[in-house]
C-alpha cells in the first residue's frame, strides 16, 4: 500500500509499505477514504515531539471502509463505512469505564501520562496513522462508529478530532449565559471552539490570531469579534481595555506548543526543544482572563516542562481545565447540531490533496500558504 512516511524534521515522503495485519482479536483493518492533516501533526513534522521515529506514518483524523476484522469483533463487518476517533481506547480500564477515553491505560506502553493516538509518535503508543491507504484500528468494537447515511465524508473527518476538540474546549470553559469568551488561535480548533461557545450561551466571543485570513474566517464562520495581536503593542492590555478592565470570563488556548508571538519562547521551544512547548498563548490567557475566571487548554504541548506563568494563575484564583478530547462522548450531540444546521464543520476545509502530494501538503499547512486552514488527504485520488 501507499503510505505517508516521516523522514526527519520538515521531511515526509510517500512509500510502499505492507498492508497492516490484524495483531489483536479485536483489531480491524480500515481502508482509508479520507484523512486530514492536523495542527498537532505539525509538532511531529517539526521534530518537536519526543520519540518520533523515521518511518512512522502520521494521521489521527481519518474515515474509511472496514476491510477486515479480527476474530472477536462483533460490532463491525467488512464494508462498513466508519469514522474513527483519534483516541485509541480499550473501553474497560479504570479510565474508560469513567468516560475518560482519552486517558485509557491499556493502549500506550510508552507513557502513562498520554493515551493512545493514531500516528502520533511512540510517546502516544507507536501506532501508525491514517495518512495511508490502510490502517490498523485496535478495539474495533469500542472506538469506530458507522457514519450515518446523511453525513458527508468531510463532515465525518472533521468529527474525528477537530470539531469535538473545539466543542470540548468551549465546554471545559464552563461558559455561563452572557460570558465573555476569548479564544487564542483561529485555526480549526479555535474556530470550532468560538462557534461552540455561542451554543453554550456566550454573550461575546473574541478571537485572537496573527493571520488575517484566519481572523476573517473567525468573523464569518464563527461570528466572532477579532483582533490581530501583531497590531497591538501588548495584546493583554488591549484585551483588558475592551472588557472594562475586568478581563474575559473564559479563555481558551487553541494554539499550543508552537505559538508565535515571543521569539525567546519560540527559539527555546520550537527550535532548541528545551521546553515542552512555547506557552505564549497560555500565558496570554492567564493574564487576560478575569480573576476567578476559567482557562481551557486545547492546544497540544509536549511532555517536557514549559515556562507557564503559574504565579499569576494562582494569585488570580483561576480554574485551569484541560484534557485531550474524549471524542466519542461528543458525537451524539454534535450529530444533532450538524443536522440542525447549527454547525457546518466542512466549511473550514480549504485543501484537498492526493496522498502522493502529501509533502507539499505538509509544507503548505506548516507555512500557512494559500490561506490554508484545514487540508484533507485523499489516499485514492492519485
Amino acid at each position: 500500500m501507499r503510505a505517508m512516511v516521516y523522514r526527519g524534521p520538515y521531511r515526509v515522503r510517500v512509500e510502499e509499505k505492507d498492508v497492516p495485519p490484524i495483531e489483536h482479536p479485536n483489531d480491524a483493518i480500515v481502508r482509508v477514504t479520507a484523512a486530514a492533516i492536523c495542527g498537532s501533526d505539525l509538532h511531529l513534522y517539526h521534530g518537536l515531539m519526543p520519540d518520533t521515529r523515521v518511518g512512522m506514518t502520521f494521521g489521527h483524523e481519518f474515515i474509511g471502509v472496514v476491510e477486515e476484522v479480527g476474530s472477536s469483533v462483533q460490532n463491525l463487518k467488512r464494508g462498513d463505512r466508519v469514522m474513527v476517533p483519534f483516541n485509541i481506547f480499550c473501553g474497560s480500564c479504570y479510565f474508560c469505564t469513567r468516560g475518560l477515553y482519552a486517558n485509557c491505560h491499556n493502549v500506550n506502553p510508552n507513557a502513562t501520562a498520554v493515551g493512545g493516538i493514531y500516528g502520533y509518535s511512540h510517546t502516544a503508543g507507536g501506532y501508525d496513522g491514517g495518512q495511508a491507504e490502510f490502517v490498523r484500528v485496535p478495539f474495533a468494537d469500542v472506538g469506530p462508529t458507522i457514519i450515518p447515511d446523511w453525513m458527508s465524508d468531510e463532515d465525518a473527518v472533521m468529527l474525528t478530532d477537530a470539531l469535538p476538540t473545539g466543542y470540548f474546549g468551549a465546554q471545559l470553559g464552563e461558559i455561563a449565559e452572557g460570558d465573555t469568551v476569548v479564544v487564542f488561535g483561529a485555526g480549526p480548533i479555535g474556530l470550532y471552539a468560538a462557534k461552540s461557545s455561542w451554543l453554550m450561551g456566550a454573550g461575546r466571543v473574541i478571537v485572537i490570531d496573527h493571520l488575517e485570513y484566519r481572523l476573517e474566517k473567525a468573523r464569518t464562520f464563527a461570528h466572532a469579534e477579532t483582533y490581530n495581536f501583531t497590531e497591538y503593542d501588548d495584546i493583554v492590555v488591549h484585551l483588558k481595555k475592551i472588557t472594562d478592565h475586568l478581563g474575559a470570563d473564559v479563555a481558551i488556548d487553541a494554539v499550543g506548543a508552537e505559538a508565535d508571538g515571543n521569539l525567546l519562547q519560540h527559539v527555546t521551544a520550537t527550535k532548541l526543544k528545551l521546553q515542552g512547548g512555547s506557552p505564549i498563548a497560555l500565558n496570554w490567557a492567564i493574564d487576560s482572563v478575569r480573576k476567578a475566571g476559567t482557562i481551557s487548554v486545547m492546544g497540544a504541548y509536549g511532555p517536557m516542562f514549559s515556562a507557564v506563568k503559574f504565579g499569576d494563575a494562582m494569585n488570580k484564583g483561576l480554574t485551569l481545565r484541560m484534557n485531550q478530547c474524549h471524542v466519542k462522548r461528543q458525537w451524539p450531540r454534535l450529530f444533532e447540531h450538524i443536522q440542525a444546521g447549527y454547525l457546518n464543520p466542512s466549511d473550514i476545509v480549504t485543501h484537498r490533496i492526493p496522498l502522493e502530494h502529501i509533502a507539499e501538503g505538509y509544507h503548505l499547512f506548516s507555512a500557512k500558504l494559500d490561506e490554508c486552514i484545514k487540508p484533507i488527504i485523499i489516499p485514492t485520488a492519485s
Partner: protein, 187 residues
C-alpha cells in the same frame, strides 16, 4: 468596571444573539452538555474485563511507570541502530518525570534521522530534500504569493541552522570517533 460592584452591561440581549447566531444557547444548561458529569460510566462496547494480550514480536520498550507492557500497543517502527540503543536506555533508566528521559528520546530522534538517511542511500532509496520538504508547493502560483502572510517567515533565517545542526554535529562526532579509533590502533 471591576473597581465597583456592578457587572458590565451585556452588549447584546439573548434575543439579539439568538437572531444573529444559529443555535445560540442550544447547550445553555451545563448539566445537559455532553461529557457531563466528567466521570460516568457509559456502555463502551467492550466485552472483556481485561483485553486479550497482543503478541509481543520484539521486547517492547515501555515506561517504567507501567507495571507491564499494555495489552495493546503500536508496532509502527521498532527501535533500531544507535538511535534504538538510546531509546531503549531512555525507557529502561528514566521515568516520564525525568527530563533526561525526554531529552534522550529527542537526541535519539536526531540520530535516527541521520542513520535513516544513510541506510536509505545504501538501499538505493535516497532521501530527496526537494520532494520531501514539499517546497515544490512554493512554485505553483508564485506570483499570487508576493506579499502573502505566512507563518514561517519569522524564523526563516534560523531554519537552515536548525536543519543542518544535527548533520554537522553528527559528522563531527563520527569524525572524532574514527580518529580516536585510528589513534588507538596506532598507539
Amino acid at each position: 468596571m471591576p473597581y465597583t460592584a456592578e457587572k458590565p452591561t451585556p452588549r447584546e440581549t439573548p434575543e439579539q444573539l439568538r437572531a444573529r447566531i444559529p443555535g445560540w444557547g442550544a447547550d445553555l444548561d451545563p448539566a445537559d452538555r455532553p461529557s457531563y458529569p466528567k466521570e460516568q460510566f457509559l456502555p463502551t462496547g467492550a466485552h472483556w474485563d481485561f483485553p486479550e494480550r497482543q503478541v509481543e514480536k520484539w521486547p517492547r520498550e515501555r515506561s517504567i511507570e507501567h507495571a507491564f507492557v499494555t495489552p495493546v500497543f503500536g508496532t509502527s517502527t521498532p527501535p533500531k541502530g544507535l538511535s534504538g540503543v538510546i531509546r531503549k536506555y531512555a525507557y529502561r533508566r528514566f521515568s516520564e518525570a525525568r527530563a533526561a528521559h525526554w531529552l534522550l528520546l529527542i537526541a535519539a530522534d536526531r540520530v535516527d534521522t541521520a542513520e535513516s538517511a544513510v541506510t536509505a542511500l545504501l538501499r538505493g532509496k535516497p532521501d530527496n530534500p526537494v520532494t520531501e520538504t514539499g517546497i515544490l508547493a512554493e512554485s505553483s502560483p508564485v506570483a499570487d504569493r508576493v506579499g502573502q502572510q505566512r507563518a514561517d517567515a519569522g524564523h526563516h533565517a534560523l531554519d537552515p541552522v536548525i536543519v543542518a545542526a544535527p548533520w554537522v554535529i553528527g559528522g563531527g562526532l563520527a569524525f572524532s570517533a574514527v580518529r580516536a579509533l585510528v589513534r588507538r590502533r596506532r598507539g
